[in-house]
Amino acid sequence: MAADRDADRAAAPRRPPEGGSRFGSASGRRWILLGITLAAVLAALTLDASLSGLVPQKGGTELVLRFFARALRPALDYESEVPDGTAPLWMAALAAARRTVVFAVAAMSLALVGGVVLGFLGSSAWWAGAPRGGNGAVQRAFYRGFAPAVWAAARVLIVGMRSVHELLWAVLFLAAMGLNNVTAVVAIAIPYAGTLGKVFSEMIDEAPRDAALALRASGATNLSVFALGLVPRALPDMWAYAFYRFECAIRSSAILGFFGFPTLGYSISASFENLHYGEVWTYLYALCALVLGVELWSGALRRRFVA
């Protein structure tokens, strides 16, 4: 009898071992499904969204058809008269692509520095070296007061930087500093540093700590434990994510061209406004080639280093 009660008590708290679902029972899942459906209906009602919004406006269908008709025939030369001495279209596309990459690389370099600093300071592992035992009043004060403050500041900074989109940063900086290349680079670098910081800190905190603990047990300093025991475990993931963000940075850099920065977006918007759809496709393909190229390159590097 007593054994039975004990068995019940032991079984009760760890309920879903073979059910596997975090959401518990089937009825719980039904409620969640119902909630999601309700939210979708509410959103549609609030937005006053109707399917009529998808019917093209006058001339819209034609425009779309004409645009996509050129997809298989991108322009090989300008679609209107250009002054003598203008570089051929393919060279213009190449130059715009090169500038797109340069902007992305510059922004990403800044973002990486910021992201690594924020990621380290924002991780709990960085501050995990709190000394045990009754000594070092200064050290204890540091870990009790200063450290949580810096950690919190890093987290707030991360949220602030990444909750504003790079286009908004660009608008802000354009208004403040005008159209110059630094503006675009900083506009991309700020939210990217925030995002990298957030993801890096999570990767560091989720990395296996066995080696770090072993190094601490053999007397290594806190900084050595962090840098040599913990960071190497997170590094492959951090690299992979940084490469993914580099692809994103290329797209962002291209899009900022719509504001007048000399990247692929500028060429695309100019050709689009002149209804030179063939040219638009040429530039779009250049952008695709760029992103694909980075993807292949990062994939090759990952295979070599991450295994």
Partner: protein, 273 residues
């Protein structure tokens, strides 16, 4: 060769003294009033069923854990240090001389074997020196690591990525890392739990031979009583957090060991788990 060995040998092995030490986690007394002493240079096996407190005892000895009650002392040539009262500086100095081979090895898998071995010296390096030796190991460091790897039998693996090695080879790396500390004491937690019987024998043989050749204190927790009897002159048996017996191996009767583990089965049945 003998002269070189003497250079390698630590200036003095550590002894340990555990006085009425208990470790309590919530309602569970993992160690209960344990009294033990390990002389400098002694070679001891900890035996007992799983959950007996062997790992906890080892963790007390390298101050990874502080006793809830009682005292743990490390005694070296420069006197005794009470581990839970030590300053961070003293603690670092002590730990840098206590090697620990963890059950799960606790190596960094995605760096070279060389780096993992060099990690053994981190306790005696500042951060900048540690980073330098990890990123740009000197010729001397490479040679020292290669010598240790040779000694543990995997000399050719120096520049391989650690996670390309087999379980048994990785264990050798963990031992080499501990040796690179020039340990005054080496603590091993179930070093043979994850290797096959033939290799288990080799590992225990290696550890005891190293202790003899370099003069460090060796405390190994072992599940395999036969290996413990064969290679260790002294057996400390733990059961339920207390010392069950602590004797010269020659004086331990086989029936006592049988009883040590038989009681475990009886208790398991009584627990109903």
């Amino acid at each position: 060769m003998t002269a070189a060995r003497r250079d390698d040998a630590p200036p003095g092995a550590f002894g340990f003294e555990v006085r009425r030490a208990s470790v309590v986690y919530g309602p569970r007394r993992v160690l209960d009033q344990v009294d033990l002493a390990f002389a400098p240079g002694e070679v001891v096996a900890l035996v007992g069923p799983s959950g007996a407190g062997k790992t906890t005892l080892l963790r007390l000895l390298n101050a990874a854990l502080a006793p809830t009650e009682g005292v743990v002392l490390a005694t070296g040539p420069s006197g005794a240090v009470q581990l839970d009262r030590a300053t961070p500086r003293e603690l670092r100095a002590l730990r840098s001389r206590i090697g620990f081979v963890h059950q799960d090895l606790a190596l960094v898998p995605n760096v070279r074997v060389l780096q993992n071995v060099l990690h053994g010296r981190l306790g005696r390096q500042g951060f900048v020196a540690a980073l330098r030796s990890s990123l740009f190991p000197s010729r001397a460091e490479e040679e020292a690591a290669a010598r240790l790897l040779d000694r543990v039998g995997i000399g050719e693996k120096l520049f391989q990525r650690t996670d390309t090695l087999s379980g048994g080879q990785r264990q050798r790396v963990a031992i080499a890392r501990a040796l690179y500390q020039e340990p005054a004491a080496l603590l091993c937690d179930e070093p043979v739990s994850s290797v096959d019987p033939a290799r288990a024998r080799d590992t225990v043989l290696l550890l005891t031979a190293l202790a003899k050749e370099r003069g460090f204190t060796l405390v190994v927790s072992l599940h395999d009583v036969r290996l413990a009897r064969e290679f260790f002159p002294r057996l400390v048996a733990l059961r339920g957090g207390s010392v069950w017996f602590d004797r010269r191996t020659a004086e331990v009767r086989p029936s006592e060991l049988e009883e040590l583990y038989r009681l475990e089965r009886v208790e398991l049945l009584a627990d109903g788990s």
